[in-house]
């Protein structure tokens, strides 16, 4: 690494085995850094040079170039190198490269490839780069794409899955054993962190040489900064996992507590000196993630976790996940009294740690199905935040989801959750559909199925597909199997359509049933009943007929509970299958109706409009009066504030 020019020269030995049942005729590589090579790359065209509240610095473009790619017999494939743009045909995009092989690789056969490359890191942007002395190197080397066998992720025939680098997409890669040696100027000695375990650090002249090793991961990132405070801690399950949490989750999962045993993990925190006060927040939140996800899904299988606190001005590299290596994000302002109690940096750490499971071990295709990593991760982030800090971190997301449903162009979510990242209507649709909507789908399932059933199913899915590449269909099938119910209709609507879930009570009436009067026949006898004297009638004699009209306002079909509450305190419930457009419920009883509701327990988290979920027979003026009193007060304050200029 030449730290003066932010340029590195590398050699890569790749041993690749054809695990498919088909012959492989070529090798495809991601050259991700070329996304930053010009303003014409697909990434830059889509992002406009702005991403994650960060702007690209055009003073230093980023690129990667392969100078040779040789096979064992010395054949150099550089001459047949071909850049492709399978997603959009952009001729200026050089993020996907193809190298035809001189002969096809048979199923099960291994190939060794020796690559020489040069990478120019950009100024920190979109997860990678170098600012000053601070380096965060992600996607810095030629990265082999995934060769998918027929049947994998529903694929009809075997082939490479290699997409261009898009503004809203992350990555997709195969598992491998990484053994990486880095050579940097010696001012970085002791201040380098990376995926995996540091096995060697030596000095050679004015350079420091470090070697990191990590089997069973699908990416390798590293960082260096002379100013890092390097702190270590240990996640010790004996000390760091409360017994009551283990007991609770074991009962959900129906497993003995010993089956939930976790393993110790060495935590390394590379912290900016200015954030020294926040070391404990980083460690504690990482531990919360290790126990929260470990107990629910299975123990974190690696021995190390490195947490990076990005340098100031390099926020574009924050909030990112790589195997055994995550980047957080905080600022000095978070130590001020006003913000001290807001666990925002903790939320970021927990979110990125949760990615160790969803994308780290469940290595889904983030290009095509971003919800599997971002949505499920957001769900678990929310779970861990709630149990650790008592904060439902998705509350804002819920509102965002409803607001999006109402205002999103063109009226309602424009895209299904399962949409390729580059095909979303806009960045907001990508954000809501990848993060908050799928997280709400999972919360909805947890609420409607119950935590036991839900968490067991999620554990089955994780255990079955860890260290592989499951698709949405794999998730749906496994989840349904584990739950023991066919949820295909739910998933088809929730994940593959833009249908809105919305039930309402449009009308509710209760009227007194008149006593029978007139001529009747009883056991062959004709009797005549007269109109009863109202004055003599007591309240207990009255009978009311209550009729409630429930409607399915949206296209989403879903069973829903209806509840009637009567003046005498009695409540009646029934479940309507929600298939038809409307449902009439008529009951008779001794009391008048007070209110009628759909989804009285608020379990349908995906309900796009909760206002219409019920009707009160008599208007309640108290709550609205209180609201108006507050509106009046704050409007007066606002007018007084304007009056500062009067």
């Amino acid at each position: 690494m030449d730290a003066e020019t932010a340029r590195l020269k590398g050699t890569e030995k790749l041993v690749w085995r054809n695990t498919s049942s088909a012959e492989v005729e070529d090798l495809w590589f991601h050259h991700y850094l070329n996304a930053f090579s010009s303003n014409r790359s697909t990434f830059m065209e889509e992002s406009g040079g702005r991403l994650r509240r960060d702007s690209f610095d055009e003073k230093r473009w980023g690129w990667i170039e392969v100078s040779s790619l040789r096979l064992e017999d010395g054949t150099d494939l550089k001459g047949v190198e071909e850049y492709l743009s399978p997603d959009d045909g952009n001729p200026f995009d050089r993020t996907v490269a193809r190298y035809p092989l001189p002969r096809p690789l048979a199923p099960g056969e291994e190939i060794e490839v020796f690559i020489e490359f040069e990478s120019q890191l950009p100024s920190i942007f979109a997860r990678t780069g170098m600012n000053g002395d601070y380096i965060l190197a992600g996607q810095w080397y030629p990265k082999i794409a995934v060769f998918e066998d027929a049947g994998l992720r529903g694929r009809p025939q075997a082939g490479w899955n290699c997409h261009q680098f898009h503004a809203h997409s992350e990555f997709y890669a195969d598992f491998g054993d990484y053994d990486v040696t880095l050579r940097l100027p010696d001012r970085y000695a002791g201040k380098i962190g990376a995926t995996g375990e540091l096995v060697e650090e030596t000095r050679e002249g004015e350079e420091v040489v470090v070697r990191f090793v990590q089997p069973g991961v699908h990416d390798f990132a590293w960082t260096a900064h002379p100013k890092y405070l390097v702190l270590e801690d240990l996640f010790d399950p004996v000390k760091d996992v409360p017994a009551e949490l283990t007991t609770k989750i074991a009962s959900w999962l129906g497993l003995p507590e010993k089956d939930l045993e976790l393993t110790p993990v060495k935590l390394t925190l590379l912290l900016q000196p200015q954030h020294a006060e926040q070391a404990d927040a980083y460690f504690q939140s990482a531990k919360a993630g290790l126990r929260g996800l470990g107990l629910r899904l299975g123990a974190y299988p690696y021995s190390t976790l490195t947490i990076v606190d990005p340098a100031f001005g390099s926020e574009g590299s924050g909030g990112m996940e790589y195997p055994t290596f995550i980047t957080g994000g905080t600022s000095r302002a978070m130590t001020l009294p006003l913000f001290r109690d807001l666990p925002v940096p903790e939320m970021v750490t927990i979110h990125e740690f949760a990615h160790q499971y969803f994308q780290g071990m469940i290595a889904s295709n983030e290009f095509e199905e971003s919800w599997i990593d971002e949505g499920i991760t957001s769900f678990y982030e929310n779970q861990v935040m709630a149990e650790t800090y008592g904060i439902v971190s998705l509350l804002g997301a819920e509102m965002d989801f409803r607001d999006f449903g109402r205002r999103g162009p063109p009226s309602g979510p424009p895209d299904p959750i399962v949409t390729p990242t580059w095909d979303f209507y806009d960045s907001r649709s990508y954000g809501v559909s990848s993060y908050s909507r799928p997280a709400l789908v999972l919360r909805h399932l947890e609420a409607t199925l119950g935590p036991q059933v839900f968490h067991r199913a999620m554990r089955v899915f994780f255990q079955r597909y860890q260290f592989s590449h499951p698709s949405t269909q794999d998730f749906e099938r496994t989840f349904s199997e584990a739950v023991g119910r066919d949820l295909s209709s739910f998933f088809s609507q929730a994940l593959h359509s833009t249908r809105a879930l919305d039930f309402s009570i449009r009308s509710a009436t209760s009227k007194e049933v008149e006593a029978p009067q007139g001529v009747f026949w009883q056991e062959g006898e004709r009797i005549e009943l007269e109109k009863p004297d109202k004055k003599k009638e007591s309240d207990g004699d009255k009978v009311y007929e209550t009729t409630v009209m429930a409607f399915r306002e949206g296209g989403f079909r879903h069973p829903v509970t209806l509840e009637l509450e009567f003046d005498n305190g009695e409540r009646q419930r029934k479940v309507w299958n929600g298939e038809d457009r409307w449902h009439r419920w008529t009951v008779t009883g001794p009391s008048k109706l007070r209110s009628a509701r759909v989804d009285p327990d608020g379990k349908l988290l995906l309900d796009a409009n909760r206002l219409n979920n019920g009707l009160l027979i008599e208007k309640q003026r108290g709550p609205v009066t209180k609201l108006l009193v507050n509106i009046l007060f704050w409007t007066q304050n606002l007018i007084q504030a304007v009056g500062l200029f009067s």
Binding site: R332, D403, R610, L611, K626, T635, L638
Partner: protein
């Protein structure tokens, strides 16, 4: 300072009804606004079970849910808010012209029969000038914001250069302090120039503002006087926040008590505002009643005001 404070207290005591005028100036438009909202809230919210959550700790989330619903109609009313605020600003400009006229005018009028006519005469005669002055002040504040805002770039550059983010924080704190420190003389000069315009029937509002600013800049104790009133207003709101955090009103009586408490808070703030303005009249007297805005053809206020330190208003 003590003289100014005494003068302010005396003037407010002499014109207690002006507190109500200021209070009603905010209450009336707010009532109109709340009335507009109420038509939607009572028809589309009061019959929904969700509204019952307004009484509990989830009140804010419930309100957000309500506004996010496609069935809600308050969006149209909320969209009118900017227009409404501009109208209320104009109203307050005219009322401040009347109030200043009363404060600058004969102290003998007190809360006697002359108050409505003096107030109205001030609104009628000086309202337009006050509106012009208001625009000048608005421009000055915008320039101040641009100036203070541009410091943010300095903070970022310093932080980037030194890789020390505390520079950003330090500069931010400096921005806030500087913004407040510069706002105080601007607002004082704004008020004093208007007092001068009323006292001498002056019309040159920009000139008045400029000259008053020069005087204010040379009188830091006036800033402290202003700061005292500003901090008192902040303290009132802090007390409100503390009291309202003690619990959530759910019953009819509790809601009524909450309403009363809120309105008392606003009355106190109106009184503080009047106290500040009265004190500024004292500053004007102390400065020798300068003709910053020029002199008009109309005779100045009917009776000369007593000077600071005169036994007639020293308690």
């Amino acid at each position: 300072m003590a003289n100014l404070l005494r003068f302010s207290v005396d003037r407010v005591r002499d014109h207690r009804r002006l507190v109500w005028v200021l209070y009603l100036t905010t209450l009336a438009p707010a009532l109109l606004w709340a009335g507009l909202m109420s038509t939607h809230l009572f028809s589309g919210f009061a019959d929904r079970p969700m509204a019952e959550d307004l009484l509990g700790p989830k009140a804010f989330m419930t309100w957000m849910e309500y506004t996010a619903s496609p069935d809600t109609k308050v969006g149209a009313v909320l969209g009118l808010l900017p227009l409404f605020l501009v109208a209320s600003w104009l109203l307050q400009i005219y009322v401040s012209a009347g109030v200043t006229h009363v404060l600058v005018g004969a102290e003998q009028s007190k809360d006697g029969q002359r108050l409505p006519s003096t107030l109205w005469a001030g609104m009628h005669h000086f309202g337009g000038r006050f509106a012009r002055s208001g625009l000048i002040f608005l421009v000055a504040v915008v320039l101040l914001l641009v100036l203070v805002g541009s410091l943010g770039g300095v903070g970022t550059a310093l932080a980037d250069g030194s890789e020390d983010e505390t520079w950003k924080l330090r500069i931010f704190v400096l921005q806030v302090l500087l913004g407040l420190a510069l706002f105080i003389p601007l607002d004082l000069a704004y008020d004093l120039s208007r007092i001068s315009a009323v006292a001498h029937d002056g019309r040159k509002m920009f000139r008045g503002f400029r000259k008053a600013l020069g005087t204010v800049v040379r009188s830091p104790r006036y800033w402290l006087f202003y700061l005292g009133f500003a901090l008192a207003a902040v303290a009132v709101m802090a007390i409100y926040g503390w009291v309202s955090g003690l619990g959530s009103a759910s019953g009819g009586v509790a809601i009524f008590l909450m309403f009363c408490f809120q309105q008392i808070v606003l009355l106190v703030r109106s009184r503080l505002k009047l106290g500040l303005w009265a004190g500024e009249v004292g500053m004007f007297r102390e400065s020798g009643e300068p003709t910053w805005c020029g002199e008009g053809r109309r005779p100045p206020v009917a009776e000369p005001l007593p000077q600071l330190g005169d036994s007639s208003f020293v308690v």
